[in-house]
């Protein structure tokens, strides 16, 4: 006897419509209030008066308070003064524990590790990209001293916060086996104090950054085109860009937005004395750590680009960039500067850096 497979059934269009309608109906019915039970008939079910009590024990204080206001239950009180002291059971504590240990620690390790390894491999494979090797001997001033200082100020603080924060996060699995509990306790205590002290400084640097650079990071025409072509990553010439390209602008606003979130949640954790409860602090910790991991991964990519793109670091080191680099990466800006006559010779730049005598500029002029 030969076996014949049953004909393949396909859901027809009208079939789909029927299903959708049915699902909609089900939703509607589910939303309708259940038929009110009649109170006249005696119920066979006897409620244990204790159940609602123990149910309330697990609820948090605000809910209990609102129930109390409705007269549903009496107030929950304690004579011990303090935040949250009348909460009997903090059931969000377990959720926070699961978040930190099942999600944050493994997932952030994977994310940060993967990004770091990928970038390192990319660097080893591609090396320092040389977009335009032409040395024109001409220079453009990109960042003044204040801007460069501010950048490294923020970078130092950021890296310090990242290292100290990650020490607290990964120290127990990674460092305690290496150095022992006593030494790690000292390291962790130092990290905590350092983290707490530098945190507010990060906020200061962020605000100074915003004040200095926000205007140059506003969206301008052509940025979308740059983004669609991924800044020339897909091949071809670099699409023209202004002082900052769309990638840099996105980094800037991400840094500002997420940075401010991190700072705000960090301050909630930093001052436990303003009457905020555990729930708020657990939430703040969630935001703080998610933001921190996101920024750390982003900044790793940022550092990679700074190192791998030849000529990019010059602007943040001495402030002057090679003219051909500017033409390649920020054509509109470079052209504008040229129109304004701000292209400088290499000698002029070196003179400004005080190597005056070496290249024979008269001493009086160099100001020595």
């Amino acid at each position: 006897m030969s076996f014949r497979p049953p004909p393949c059934r396909r859901v027809t269009r009208s079939g789909w419509i029927c299903w959708v309608l049915l699902a909609g109906l089900a939703l509607l019915v589910a939303d309708l209030p259940a038929a009110a039970p009649s109170h006249d008939k005696p119920s066979a079910k006897v409620d244990d008066p204790g159940t609602d009590l123990w149910r309330f024990v697990r609820r948090r204080a605000p809910e209990l308070r609102s129930l109390a206001e409705k007269g549903a239950i009496g107030p929950v009180t304690t004579q011990v003064k303090g935040v949250d002291t009348s909460v009997l059971i903090n059931d969000k504590g377990q959720e926070w524990r699961l978040y930190r240990h099942r999600m944050l620690i493994p997932i952030s390790a994977i994310v940060l590790g993967t990004v770091a390894v990928l970038l390192l491999l990319l660097y080893l494979a591609v090396g320092r990209r040389v977009p335009d090797p032409r040395e024109t001997g001409k220079r453009l001033l990109r960042f003044v001293a204040y801007e460069r200082t501010l950048h490294w100020f923020m970078a130092a603080i950021f890296l310090f916060l990242g290292v100290t924060g990650l020490t607290i996060l990964y120290g127990r699995p990674l460092l305690i086996p290496l150095v022992g509990k006593e030494s790690f306790s000292a390291m962790a205590s130092a990290s905590k104090e350092g983290h707490n002290l530098f945190g507010p400084l990060f906020l200061v640097s962020l605000l100074l950054f915003l004040q200095r650079f926000w205007r140059r990071n506003l969206y301008s025409r052509g940025d979308l085109r740059w983004l669609i072509r991924l800044g020339g990553l897909l091949g071809g010439d670099s699409p023209p860009a202004g002082f900052f390209n769309m990638g840099e602008k996105m980094l800037f606003w991400l840094l500002i937005a997420v940075g401010l979130l991190i700072c705000a949640s960090g301050l909630v954790l930093l001052f436990p004395n303003f009457g905020q409860g555990r729930l708020l602090m657990e939430g703040a910790h969630l935001i703080h750590t998610l933001g921190a991991v996101l920024l750390l991964a982003t900044i790793m990519a940022h550092i990679y680009m700074g190192i791998a793109t030849k000529g990019a670091m010059d602007g943040m080191k001495g402030g002057y960039v090679e003219y051909s680099w500017a033409r390649h990466h920020h054509r509109e800006w470079a052209d504008e500067e040229e129109k304004k006559g701000r292209v400088l010779s290499e000698e002029e730049v070196r003179r400004r850096f005080g190597e005056a005598r070496k290249i024979g500029v008269p001493e009086r002029e160099a100001g020595t």
Partner: protein
Amino acid sequence: MIAQLIDGPLWLFSAWFFLVVALWRLLVILFKGRPKSLAKPRNAPGGALATIFRRFLPYPEFRKVSRVRFWAGYAFHVGLLALLFFAAPHVEFLSQRVTGFSWPALPHWAFEVAAELALGGLLFLALFRLMDPVTRFISSTGDHLASWLVFLVMLTGCFALWRSHESLRLLHLFLAELLLIYFPFSSLMHALTFPFSRGFTGAVYHRKGVNI
């Protein structure tokens, strides 16, 4: 072993070393005296004091360009002075080991604010020294070294802020001792010499009738 060394002999050595060498340098400078000025005096003597105080503010011409350095500088110096002499752990240490008497300390929150100001100000200034062509040109290796050494002392101090781990306190103390030893040889001496150098300039130029 190392702990006892840092807490005992090394502390005594560095403190005395600082005291003797710094004093000696100061006296050398003071006993050098002023070169004889041949210019005809245009003013009665007495321009020194005014200049000492006037130099607490930048020249009006430079106010705008040096605005950031001005604020960062004041944040650092005021924060550092408050930390050095009025932080509770320092008051304790100094009164027990040096002076023998105590004085009121800052409350903890003011201590932390002072630490923020000092750390932020110094980090900014030390980076600015590297980034600005002019300050970089006029800075010697010693100047950079001094900035970062002071920064390290303050950083380890902030690590030890909680006062729970002896090892952290000793690290801070050790770096402070290094700083005390390096101090008299470095431009950090300006902490002691600034009234004299300002006064000297003020006196000389006042005599010549130049208002600075």
